[in-house]
């Protein structure tokens, strides 16, 4: 028998692993707007580097693709070259012996087909179609907030200036400091060094430190009147900017309080009323008129609004719930997450003491319902999801938080029917175990496992499988709709309806608060132009100079929460803000992409919109 030895890694193989780790960093923090042809070349070169060299297609094919791409990049490519690229990738994918060749080539083939437009541009005009994005966080913020600017101001202790700078593009700094989904952090360039900046945490800190910051001066009164239907983030953003521009705004809100989903969707342990009201009070301080408890269609008609106002903006959000469509859904104890959270938002805190609660769904709303039920005193809370936990669309920290608070997450169980007693009260949820299977549209899809149905005994079932838009009234008014959504273009204009605008969840379907703010901004600009103006909003704040070179690798300060055992008992805010020391260090990590690299050439900021 041959001697066998304990395997150990060579220095070289460890270095290779390290280089792959670095490559992963570059992928996680990939700059946007880079040349697709260049990227295809880099990918082809990685595939080539990974080929063992045994088989022809992989050993020679990737190199051939690389050569052709080089030729195209040098401006010497032809349309025959583009055709040959596609053919070669197809043949490698088809005839390679192992996945090193076939998977690489399939990915490359996909890219080649999508990038063709850019290849043609290189071949025909010797130029790339993409434009480099100088400041990734700003580019990824739907509202275009000057992130490096307010981080620098916060780092310099100029908190009020930071808030003023944020408000130029986003009138909800207090809300976003707590609950923004922070797409700005997704491609933060700091990921090339260590990890993204905790941008949301810095914003929250700035808001905490700034205290009350007065809103800027309004433009002169224009005499124009705008009606805004819906007092959520989209509608209030529109009201804020239109008021600044000098137009008189009236917000019509169906419910008792302003805030929309911020009030009635996001539980107050994540966003306490105090934080929401801070932003709303600032917005209202511009003289926005508010009519609460007004339902458009019954209390006042759209036609009446159109007559009385110079423009009407529809921002009604997505406030009705989707049904499961299983037997027993109408029994006592079954409710929707929307209904539960709305009641809590109105301070009607139902008592779940001693109850066993089942929540159905895997999104953030399901997590909100789960954790809210825990705080309402439930004996047990079980969240049931038909896919795997890793397939959940809820943020991982939300899932982890729910678990910490003692909620159970049950994966791969599909609801079948509701069990109930003779009083029509819920007694349990019958579920069918699932097995995860083949991919469908990029996601692993579950199907029925060869296991019998199970029963999860419970008293309350909360359905959190999505929201819908109540657009019936507007559809009756001949406003264009598609499924449950209102149809407006990317300038919030409803085609064919002079003076009517719409934006936010009711147009896009349920999205995030920052997307609603974006929609509100866009509508404000469009309405201002429609009213015959072209008002420029700007702010005059000098941004501190950047440090000479960036701080070397340094860990990211993550947000902390109050201990699970304590926080699960109350509705008080869960998150603990950064300390001064933490905020200073985190601000210092910002690479100031507005001042270095492409930012120093193209200018890192837009001072007006």
């Amino acid at each position: 028998m041959e001697t066998i030895k304990i395997k150990s890694k060579t220095k070289l193989s460890r270095s290779s692993e390290n280089l792959y780790k670095e490559a992963l960093k570059r992928i996680n923090g990939a700059p946007q707007g880079t040349c697709p042809t260049e990227l295809a070349l880099a990918f082809a070169n990685i595939c080539r580097a990974q080929s063992c060299g045994k088989c022809v297609p992989c050993r020679l094919g990737f190199d051939a693709i690389s050569e052709i791409l080089n030729k195209i990049l040098e401006g010497n490519g032809t349309s025959e070259d583009i055709a040959l690229l596609e053919k070669t990738a197809k043949v490698i994918a088809d005839s390679a012996d192992c996945v090193i060749g076939s998977e690489g080539a399939s990915a490359l083939l996909n890219a080649i087909q999508v990038f063709k437009e850019d290849f043609i541009s290189h071949v025909e005009n010797d130029r790339c179609k993409e434009n480099f994005t100088p400041v990734p966080c700003v580019a990824n913020c739907p509202a275009n907030v000057d992130i490096p600017g307010y981080i620098a101001l916060t780092g310099a202790g100029r908190y009020a200036d930071a808030i003023r700078l944020i408000r130029k593009d986003n009138p909800f700094p207090s809300v976003c400091g707590l609950v923004c989904e922070h797409p700005c952090e997704n491609l933060c360039r700091r990921k090339l060094v260590d990890d993204a900046i905790n941008i949301r945490g810095i914003k929250d800190f700035a808001v905490e430190m700034a205290g009350e910051v007065p809103v800027p001066d309004k433009y002169q009164d224009t005499g124009k009147k705008v009606a805004i239907i819906g007092g959520g983030p989209a509608g209030l953003t529109t009201a804020y900017y239109l008021s600044l521009m000098g137009h008189k705004c009236t917000v019509f809100e169906k419910r008792k309080r302003l805030g929309g989903m911020l009030r009635y969707g996001i539980p107050c342990y994540r966003l306490p009323d105090k934080y929401l009201d801070r932003d709303i009070d600032s917005i209202l301080s511009l003289g926005v008129e508010v009519k609460l408890g007004v339902n458009i269609g019954t209390d006042i008609t759209l036609d009446e609004l159109k007559k009385e106002y110079d423009a009407v903006h529809i921002a009604i959000g997505a406030h009705s719930d989707k049904k499961l469509g299983i037997p027993g859904e109408d029994k006592i104890g079954v409710m929707s997450a929307v209904e539960l959270l709305r009641n809590v938002g109105d301070n009607h805190k139902v008592d779940f003491t001693g109850k066993n609660v089942v929540v159905i769904g895997g999104g953030n709303v399901a997590m909100d319902a789960t954790r809210t039920s825990r705080r309402l005193g439930a004996n047990s809370v079980t969240c049931v999801y038909r896919r795997r936990i890793i397939d959940m669309t809820a943020l991982p920290e939300e899932v982890m938080g729910a678990k910490e608070e003692g909620c159970e997450i049950v994966e791969l169980q599909a609801p079948v029917r509701v069990e109930f007693n003779d009083k029509d009260e819920v007694t349990g949820l019958v579920v069918q175990p699932q097995i995860i299977g083949a991919f469908d549209r990029g996601r692993a899809k579950p199907f029925k496992a060869n296991k019998p149905e199970e029963v999860i005994p419970c008293d309350i079932i909360i359905v959190a499988i999505g929201q819908e838009i109540e657009n019936q009234y507007f559809a009756e008014q001949n406003i264009p709709t598609k499924w449950d959504q209102i149809v407006a273009d990317d300038e919030a204009i409803i085609k064919g309806h002079d003076g009517l605008f719409s934006g936010g969840d009711c147009v896009s379907g349920p999205l995030t608060v920052i997307k609603a703010i974006e929609a509100g901004k866009v509508a404000a600009g469009s309405i201002d132009r429609y009213l015959g103006f072209n008002t420029v909003l700007t702010v005059d704040i000098d941004i501190p100079n950047p440090p000479t070179t960036y701080m070397q690798q340094c860990g990211r300060i993550n947000m902390k929460e109050r201990p699970a055992e304590v926080r699960k008992e109350d509705f008080e805010i869960m998150e603990i803000p950064m300390t001064l020391q933490e905020a200073k260090q985190e601000c210092g990590r910002c690479l100031r992409c507005d001042c270095f690299g492409f930012g120093s050439h193209k200018g890192g900021r837009t001072n007006k919109w």
Binding site: E74, R127, E130
Partner: protein
């Protein structure tokens, strides 16, 4: 104020100072390449990198601000190594055919190589293949481009046109048109400022020197040269001639020595322009014509109006520019004086300008009978080259006078070469037209500026004229936006596309890092001040040409030859 130590020397400077500026104060030189003050401070070339104590990376001196206690080492081994490697990388992608480059001997890349002692590159040579249209007045050769992006930022910030941009990323990143159109189809004004601010030979004008020399040496042609006002303020700079010797007389002698049959002065036709334009202005004021009236001498400005503000084309004076008026006179009146067929006359203009090369080919600038008003245009730089090609030793030439009669020009004509000069010349004659007598020639001297925008109101016997003068197209844009929005009401607007006017023109000799518009303008003002003839309408040659040929300003024949329809296709 902050305290810094640079190469061991202590200095106290304000905190908004860059390391480069602070070092300059101490007399310490840090090499730069892409840097262009206030225009291109993007630290792209990384040649100016220096070592700063406690910083883990080298920092660019041109864009890094000093801070308290900063300790800088400008020429440390680490900094020198980085500079050398970066320079060698540039050299590997730069077409090093210096012998045939228009910037040979006046090239920043050559200078930095010399300074850093870099004699070769260890990298594999990989020069981009380039496709360029050699027939357009402005030529970009990307195989010479070092990616400094000065042209991009100059055109964007100073000229507001943003014609150039860095296109693509990574290996294929290069400077190209922002629009994606070919430069000849783009909205480029042809001001030529990207040429004079290019550190190397990536941008240059179409070389028409040989074409002109061929004409000079063609025995069948009578070559008639005109020299623009601003050329005299700069000619010789690029030949290394000392300042006292750079006189008008020596410039004329040089032109004659190259072989032109007649050497005339564009000042003459500048005076003619004033007669036509001042008359047109007063006519527009009287009859309620399209106002405000814009000057039309600067072809880059005219191109700018046509592409950026086409709705204002009718505001341009219909008077041709002095270059075109001169050509028209040369091919008609002067052909008659000489008693030759216009086809025998080859009209060459020597201009501080690149856009003039395009202006001569515009519709209406000539007709079938007389041919083109102007047959060839060479820049001041090409004129200097012509003297080299004909082995003229300018330094040793005796001064000569312009030929007559088209060589007689007034001081009003001379100042056409500076921002505000056309306006001043026109107002001198307008004053005479309104009052019947000459004002003090310096009566609006107080409104002169070096660059930027100047607004003022003159009152000539109750005729109030609101005036705006601007140079640089970003300034022109500001003026136009104000006019468009109705914020400002003007009667007469003078625009020159190049900062400081033609004195700072895109065809003038190139001096790295120096803006010489204002300095050359002062020379023009001095020529005006020291001359005896300071009013266009007093120019005896002008009087003669009206008496013998044009009858009076805006006459039928004047309209035919001296005016143009800017909308003509």
């Amino acid at each position: 104020m902050v305290n810094v130590i640079i190469d061991g020397k202590k200095l106290q400077v304000s905190e908004n100072t860059t390391i480069l500026e602070a070092a300059n104060k101490l007399g310490i030189r840090i090499p730069t390449l892409c840097f262009l003050k206030e225009v291109n401070e993007i630290s792209a070339c990384r040649i100016c990198v220096v070592e700063v104590a406690y910083e883990h990376r080298l920092v660019p001196a041109c864009s890094t601000k000093v801070s308290e206690g900063m300790e800088v080492y400008t020429n440390s081994p680490r900094a020198r190594e980085a500079r050398r490697i970066n320079l060698e990388l540039i050299l590997a992608t730069h077409d090093n055919e210096c012998n045939t480059c228009p910037r040979n001997g006046n090239c920043e890349l050559q200078r930095v190589c010399e300074e850093l002692g870099v004699k070769q590159t260890d990298f594999v040579k990989n020069v981009s293949s380039h496709k360029t249209n050699k027939n357009f007045p402005l030529i970009r050769e990307n195989n010479k481009c070092i990616g400094c992006l000065r042209c991009v930022n100059f055109c964007d910030k100073i000229q507001s046109l943003g014609i150039w941009d860095l296109v693509g990323t990574g290996k294929s990143a290069k400077v190209s048109t922002t629009s994606g159109r070919k430069i000849e189809e783009d909205n480029c004004s042809l001001c030529g400022q990207c040429i004079t601010h290019c550190p190397v030979g990536a941008l240059h004008e179409r070389d028409d020197v040989l074409k002109v020399l061929d004409a000079i040496q063609n025995k069948d042609l009578i070559t008639v040269a005109q020299i623009a006002p601003a050329v005299r303020a700069a000619f010789g700079e690029g030949l290394g001639i000392e300042e006292e010797k750079r006189t008008v007389g020596r410039m004329v002698a040089a032109a004659k020595a190259t072989g032109f049959d007649y050497v005339f002065d564009t000042n003459f036709s500048a005076d003619l322009t004033i007669m036509e334009e001042a008359t047109e202005l007063l006519e527009r004021v009287k009859t309620g014509g399209t106002m405000p009236m814009f000057t039309s001498c600067c072809p880059a400005w005219v191109r700018f109006i046509k592409t950026e503000y086409p709705e204002f084309i009718d505001n341009l004076s219909t008077a041709k520019s002095p270059q075109q008026m001169f050509g028209a006179v040369a091919k008609t009146y002067y052909a008659k004086v000489l008693g030759v067929d216009p086809s025998k006359i080859y009209s060459v203009s020597i201009m501080p300008c690149v856009a003039k090369k395009a202006e001569k080919d515009l519709p209406g600038m000539g007709d079938e009978e007389r041919g083109q008003d102007v047959d060839a245009v060479i820049t001041t730089r090409e004129f200097e080259k012509l003297t080299k090609l004909t082995y003229v030793d300018v330094d040793k030439l005796e001064e000569k006078e312009f030929d007559t009669p088209l060589g007689i020009g007034s001081g009003a004509g001379v100042i056409f070469g500076t921002t505000g000069g056309v306006m001043e010349a026109a107002l001198r004659t307008a004053y005479y037209s309104i009052t019947g007598k000459n004002p003090d020639a310096d009566f609006i001297k107080d409104y002169r500026i070096d660059n930027g925008i100047k607004e003022f109101t003159v009152d000539i016997n109750g005729v109030k004229l609101n005036i705006a003068v601007a140079s640089g197209l970003a300034n022109a844009k500001t003026v136009m936006e104000n006019v468009k929005a109705g914020f400002k009401k003007y009667d007469f607007i003078e625009i020159m596309a190049c900062p400081g006017g033609c004195a700072g023109g895109g065809g003038q000799p190139i001096h790295e890092g120096k803006e010489l518009g204002a300095y050359r303008s002062q020379k023009l003002y001095a020529l005006d001040k020291n001359g005896t003839l300071r009013f266009s309408h007093d120019n005896p040659a002008i009087k003669t040409v009206y008496k013998e040929f044009f009858e009076k300003p805006n006459s039928h024949i004047a309209h035919e030859l001296l005016h143009v329809d800017h909308k003509q296709k």
